[in-house]
Symmetry: C2
Subunit: 276 residues, 2 copies
């Protein structure tokens, strides 16, 4: 593991690290914020999964999460959104290939050799950071934005007992019924739609739900709201009687100005679960 940079930030350290990833078959880079408390012992962890076109860096510099994480003594992990490098396949579209891994393990050509973001975020990266940093892997929570909100919700429901709480900003909530989803699931997983269901938060909510609290925010003026389909998740949550707070925030759009506005709420929400 190589250190790319470490900057003092809110009394802790914002680091960027690169490592050879077995899951993705390429070098992968991630951001990690450690609060001051990590100097004294393991701290709880909040994962932040990013959206289409993002790298590890976008949320790290624009989401304003470190201040609130520092206040709560919580670490933040910012993974990349896809494999990188010349060996990994790509597509000209912004919403397929690099920057658009969709947090699945691809089974189809040309994606299968590298696009294994589920394994990367669910298995390889937690093992790596758990070994190398003062993180309490018994206390994890997860959040994300847009495609990353989809990732957070599907990972939380797909890995029972792993995360104490899950939240999302403008998540892609029903990808099997959206142009943000059908295209990618078809490309990565193939035409058999039965393999798609575990990567659809609304279907997973109907099927298994989540053993803990959920918080979701979406802007009423989100320019992509028809692709996000918050109504599908809302219906599934209500039908299941799932513990959840789903909020539609008046006037907000899909940008990081929206994410940063509600970041304090999300970090506080996770802190309550992590320290319960």
């Amino acid at each position: 593991m190589q250190t790319q940079s470490e900057n003092r930030c809110f009394g802790g350290t914002q680091g960027v690290y690169t490592h050879a990833s077995e899951a993705c078959g390429c070098d992968m880079t991630f951001g990690l914020f450690l609060p001051a408390e990590a100097a004294d012992g393991p701290v709880p962890v909040l994962w932040y999964l990013s959206g289409l076109t993002c790298t590890h860096e976008n949320a790290m510099v624009k989401a304003g999460a470190q201040g609130w994480a520092a206040e709560q003594g919580i670490a933040l992990i910012f993974p990349d959104t896809s494999p990188r490098g010349e060996d990994a396949a790509d597509d000209e579209a912004y919403d397929l290939g690099k920057g658009a891994g969709f947090y699945v393990n691809a089974t189809e050509a040309p994606w299968a050799p590298h696009f294994r973001m589920w394994d990367y975020v669910a298995e390889e990266l937690p093992a790596l950071v758990g070994e190398n940093f003062a993180l309490d892997m018994e206390r994890q929570a997860i959040t994300g934005h847009s495609m990353g909100g989809h990732g957070a919700l599907t990972l939380a429901m797909g890995l029972p007992g792993r995360f104490r709480s899950v939240s999302a900003f403008a998540p892609i909530s029903n990808p099997t019924a959206s142009d943000w989803g059908r295209k990618q699931l078809n490309a990565y997983l193939g035409k058999d739609e039965s393999t798609w269901a575990r990567h659809d938060a609304s279907l997973q909510m109907a099927e298994v739900g989540f053993d803990g609290p959920i918080l979701c925010d979406t802007g009423t003026d989100d320019q992509f709201i028809d692709l996000l389909r918050p109504e599908a998740l809302a219906e599934a949550v209500a039908k299941r009687r799932q513990e959840a707070t789903l909020r539609l925030q008046k006037g907000y759009d899909h940008s990081y100005f929206f994410v940063s506005t509600f970041m304090e709420d999300h970090v506080t929400f996770h802190a309550e679960a992590l320290y319960a």
Copy 2:
């Protein structure tokens, strides 16, 4: 004036606007955050001047200022750092020409026709925003980072009575004695160093001081600290018995991770002066 974008942000609006600038002889773009209170009447104003290589956008997305400004009911203005466009002269170096206006009115070729950032920030832009937005121009304060900290300090001292408070993050404090300064002042203002003094915060502090409180933060691990020369400003402040808080922050560098860490302190500091 053209609206480039408006995003809902912390209950207010983060806008980006472009206008034809007479001072700079080109189109100029600036960011403006208006808190919710601006819907009911004029609000106080905090200017944020950016550093070398920046546009209006850097601080707007990375400094984390809007949340604190919203809490205090204060507007934020993020000007660009130089003229733009094909007509304006430029230099291959990152620290001269575009992105490096240094907040002076150039008198030398090829800079004089466009590089009039002092007039732009001191006169033209305040008049424009005062006419077009709900801003209380009787209550202004100013801050900035690096070259923008230099701008904030020299504007505050050069325009007595304009600003109620001034602060800076890692300001270029003594440009007449630094490679971040001598090169630019020579290029923009010419060889007669007597014209440089009003653009040197340490010399201005010795000469005139500031009628209000000052707050400056600089990181002890700032990679450019030898160019910033905080010691010159510290000496001048102490000699003048100027009301000021000068802090050296252990372990912090020159990045926006440093700026965002101390932004709450700076906005709170200005709010106290603006609402006094």
